[in-house]
């Protein structure tokens, strides 16, 4: 492997490798090990959720739900780990179901990955977020890392969800 270029390594990543990675990510999020989750992100990572009425538009130029560059992702996690993050104290119990994982393309050291999700959040009541992920994963010496993570919800209105107070 050491002789192979990074580009070469991206081309050898299988769907099973990507699934293992996404399942490990989901487990970290479900168990609220958010500091460990941050280690899966590249320093230039972006996390975003488009506006539900503009799912195909750029979350950076529309009034999307989330458009975090790495600094704000870190702040979001720091906040969520505090007991004064009132919307998540006590914390929701979440359970993520990730399916239909596809590698849609390979460019350089990057993999374009798509997946479907159902994320259950149970606190005072149960709500389920349904949608799809678009990832840009990058092959590094430490394994796969997340450069871009977009969660596109299918809901027209966040009713009864009200909030996306967890990492979706």
């Amino acid at each position: 492997m050491t002789a192979m270029s990074v580009e070469g390594r991206a081309a050898t990543v299988t769907r099973a490798d990507v699934e293992d990675f996404l399942y490990r990510e989901a487990a970290l999020l479900d168990s609220w090990e958010l500091m460990q989750w941050l280690e899966l992100l590249t320093p230039d990572a972006v996390y975003e959720i488009p506006a539900p009425d503009r799912p195909n538009d750029d979350p950076g130029t529309t009034f999307s739900l989330i458009h975090d560059h790495r600094e704000m992702i870190d702040q979001r996690v720091i906040r969520l780990m505090k007991t004064t993050a009132h919307a998540e104290n006590p914390r929701s119990r979440t359970r993520r179901f990730i399916a239909n994982v596809r590698i849609d393309g390979v460019e350089g050291d990057e993999l374009m990955v798509a997946a479907n999700f159902m994320v259950s959040r149970i606190r005072r009541e149960q709500v389920t977020y349904v949608g799809r992920y678009e990832y840009v994963l990058v092959v590094t010496d430490d394994g796969l890392r997340i450069r871009h993570r977009k969660a596109i919800v299918d809901h027209f209105r966040l009713d009864p969800h009200g909030k996306i107070s967890i990492l979706l």
Binding site: L65, M72, K82, A85, P160, K163
Partner: protein, 442 residues
């Protein structure tokens, strides 16, 4: 419908006590009275003119429980049309937004243009007498705008919009005047719900007192990113006196006006862009007015259910409608000056998203607080009254006081019970003269 007879608001001016009965948040009878006594009678926010950029643009939205098409006709005139076919009632427009010359009801094919005129009836010859000219889509009885903000009323005899808005007009101007060309609503909206009474969000939307406790994590975030919360900080405009008031704007409208909060995401480049925009506004409007518009933050409520929050890094427009006493539909939009360019717009959007919306770092904690209140109201038999007395009796109540909520509640009480409690505090103009005198003396 008869006015409600119970006591929902009680005040003791000498003791400085103001209380609201928690049945106001719980009762189906109260909800029915709210619908009959003001949602069906006063002006309700419909939308902003910038949401309809081109002729034949349309948006379908619920306003006061009715399906409304907010549209621009082919000549460019903004209209509101009730989205129900004159034939059997189906909604003729089934998209949330778009651009179309004709709306065809898919049930039997009656077709209307964007002005609402009935232009086609399949097999129309079979009607003995169908006057198409009187069978267009119906408009709400009253539709009008102020400073680009459009309102409607289902009451044909409602007072003129400008009279109804009273001093809230000045607060809408402070938004509209931030642009040389026009303010522009950003594409994309936040539609979400909460399990709490809608009035809790009207209170929360102009509540300065909750900031330090509910939004502690947000303030800590700003400090860790190098910002100093405004109440402690020296601001960039160099002013030595800063207003900090809750203000009764008349007719149940109110605002808070306080030193700007600062910007969580700030770069040298964005500082330059903000400063350039400010300099252009000073040229147009003068330093004093610019300082009022750009260097104060303002949480404005327009009775019954419109909120405009200007935190300088972004401006949030919000409406809410009750679905049930403990359930509310909420919509949030973001509005920016149109001419500032994509870079500054993107910076404003990113800042706004740190705070507002279902995925923001502030709004979910607000919603949690309001849902906790609603849960607590289950014990209304044992604990029937909520307290809204803070600052009652002060000469000039501050943002951290509760004059603005009392203003809302007095109007609410006037509408549903007929009881007319007097207002409090100085008028907007009096307070602005006070600011000018303080600035001149400093």
């Amino acid at each position: 419908m008869a006015k409600l007879t119970g006591q929902f608001v009680r005040e003791d001016r000498e003791a400085g006590i103001f209380e609201v009965n928690r049945q106001a948040f719980l009762s189906e009878e109260v909800l029915a009275a709210e619908k009959a006594e003001f949602f069906d009678k006063v002006w309700l926010y419909l939308g902003h003119e910038s949401e309809l950029a081109k002729p034949n643009d349309f948006i379908a939205r619920q306003v006061g429980g009715r399906p409304i098409m907010f549209s621009r006709d082919k000549k460019g005139q903004i209209r509101a049309l009730i989205n129900t076919c004159r034939h059997r009632g189906a909604q003729v427009c089934r998209d949330d937004f778009g651009n179309a010359k004709i709306f065809t009801c898919f049930y039997h094919g009656w077709a209307y243009d964007t002005g609402g005129a009935l232009v086609s009836v399949p097999d129309g010859d079979a009607y003995a007498s169908l006057d198409r000219s009187t069978h267009g889509l119906v408009s709400p009885p009253q539709v009008d705008s102020y400073a680009g903000f459009w309102f409607l009323s289902y009451n044909p005899d409602v007072e003129p919009l400008a009279d109804y808005l009273a001093d809230a007009k000045a607060l809408l101007d402070l938004v509209a005047d931030q642009s040389e060309t026009s303010m522009s609503v950003v594409k994309g909206a936040h539609h979400y719900s909460m399990r709490a009474n809608w009035k809790l969000l009207m209170e929360n939307s102009c509540d300065g007192y909750h900031g330090m406790s509910v939004h502690q994590t947000y303030i800590e975030m700003m400090m860790s990113m190098g910002m100093v919360p405004s109440l402690l900080s020296q601001q960039e405009d160099g002013a030595s006196y800063r207003p900090d008031f809750g203000i009764d704007l008349g007719n149940g409208h109110a605002t808070t006006m306080f030193p700007e909060l600062g910007r969580p995401l700030m770069s040298e480049r964005s500082k330059e862009l903000v400063a350039a925009h400010r300099a252009r506004m000073v040229e147009r409007m003068g330093e004093d007015y610019t300082r009022r518009a750009l260097n104060t933050s303002r949480n404005t409520i327009v009775f019954p259910n419109l909120v405009i929050v200007d935190l300088n890094f972004g401006i949030q427009i919000r409406t809410m409608f009750p679905v049930a006493p403990d359930r509310t539909d909420i919509t949030g939009w973001q509005i920016t000056p149109d001419e500032v360019g994509d870079e500054l717009k993107g910076y404003r959007i990113d800042n706004a998203l740190t705070f507002w919306g279902p995925g923001g770092l502030a709004t979910p904690d607000d919603v949690e607080a309001l849902e906790q209140c609603q849960l607590g109201f289950a014990a209304s038999a044992e604990v029937p009254w909520s307290d809204i007395s803070k600052g009652f009796g002060k000469e000039r109540p501050s943002t951290m006081d509760e004059l603005q909520m009392r203003t809302f509640w007095r109007q609410w009480n006037r509408c549903v019970t007929g009881e007319d409690l007097p207002g409090e505090g100085y008028s907007y103009d009096e307070l602005m003269q006070h600011v000018a005198a303080k600035v001149a003396a400093s």
